[in-house]
Symmetry: C2
Subunit: 225 residues, 2 copies
DNA sequence: TGTACATCAGTGAACGCGCGTTCACTGATGTAC
DNA sequence: TGTACATCAGTGAACGCGCGTTCACTGATGTAC
């Protein structure tokens, strides 16, 4: 095989790995898919799913339409794949940011701060996610994917609230379950208002995250004792 | 002019007003516009703005496409007119529900209850409003209309918080201004999650409004003293 | 009141463009011997 | 190593449909005298 050959010939091996890192891999469909998804994410954020033509996406990715249809059956399928990729990324990011939070001296404040910095309103994703939610209203398979993701987030935040509050010896006047739901709703509301609301452009980043910090601290202060 | 003529001839006046109330008015463009807007609202909620063809809207309203174009220049103009009509309606409704609130014995709780019952998640409007917000992202005139409406809501809620808290002799640990923004964001988040989120169908009406009640009471409890 | 004309509200056929999707083809990459 | 063949990834022309928009026309309603 090519691989074992390569192992026996250091020089050729080197060339092969250059091929794999560089833009000339043996089989590059996976890479093409990634580039198309990247292009789709940007295009959908800029002009919306419906307004974005397959040609727009391909042009941005540096392909022709044929390439698109050799990777995806339809434009709708692409939307689903994009949502799947991005939500997986976001969950992994959250995982990474929040592990070990219960060892902080003040886990509540720490969690608020970390969540704010992790999920800082990412304009692109808010736009595409919102559109996907709207889309899911009329496409049951999309609704399933959306629900799964929402439930996963809720599960993780609930667990976080539970471990953090018990470690800190705090009593919750509202079940962790419900508290998590409230926090998620508040987050959504603030972030959506920032991106979609008639947001005044002047330093709205800080304004929105300040607002959310205030709100979360108010909430948590009166939910714990 | 026709009006002063009518005033001088009681009988004719009566006939004219029958014409205006009944479905045979002299000039019925206004009524046609209303019917088209009604049809558009339902159609947009069902299948979305982009997917809704002008023909779909007209068919639902009982017209042909020509009627549409003799009342609106483009499909986009219709969207703007629809948003204008609905926001005006909503503001009027809010006005009506919230006047006199400061005379309640417990204005905070009363306001929470009235807001919840007034702005109970109206699925149709949440869908259309969200889509309009997304649309406004790419259409500056729409963004202006959206901002105006958001600011108006914020102004009214701020005033309500101020008068209600001062009448009740409460001190706010957060400016009314900011508190109003937080409440609006929370409301948006809850309502959007209910309609767009992977909402479990089982009695989600009550669940969502219970959640919002809990959240608002928590917030207001720790924002006042 | 009756007649002639003007305007209004809405019809429905037609246009033309852009888009999603298909498909026959091509050059590059990999495999067999 | 070299040659012949197979598969893969992507090309780009073509198709056909549906949609937004236009426009010449019509019957109903209103106005003048």
């Amino acid at each position: 095989m090519g691989v074992s050959d390569a192992l026996m010939h250091p020089i050729q091996c080197c060339i092969v790995s250059v091929h794999e890192i560089d833009s000339r891999p043996k089989r590059r469909r996976a890479e093409t898919v990634e580039r198309l998804l990247d292009a789709a994410l940007e295009t959908f954020a800029e002009i919306g799913f419906a307004a974005a033509s397959v040609e727009d996406i391909c042009r941005r990715g540096g392909f022709t339409r044929g390439a698109f249809y050799s990777s995806f059956k339809t434009k709708d399928e692409l939307f689903g794949a994009l949502f799947a990729r991005e939500t997986e990324r976001n969950l992994a990011l959250a995982e990474q940011q929040l592990t070990g939070i219960e060892h902080e001296s003040d886990p509540v404040t720490a969690a608020v701060e970390r969540c704010l910095s992790t999920f800082r309103a990412d304009r692109t994703w808010v736009l595409v996610h919102t559109e996907y939610a709207l889309y899911a209203t009329r496409h049951p398979e999309a609704a399933t994917a959306l629900r799964r993701h929402a439930e996963e987030l809720h599960r993780r935040l609930t667990a976080l609230v539970e471990t953090a509050s018990s470690r800190a010896g705090l009593r919750l006047s509202v079940p962790a379950n419900r508290l998590a739901r409230i926090v998620l709703a508040l987050h959504d509301g603030v972030v959506i208002r920032e991106v979609l609301g008639g947001g005044t452009a002047r330093s709205s980043d800080r304004a929105a995250s300040d607002l959310e910090r205030t709100a979360l601290l108010l909430l948590l202060r009166s939910a714990t004792s």
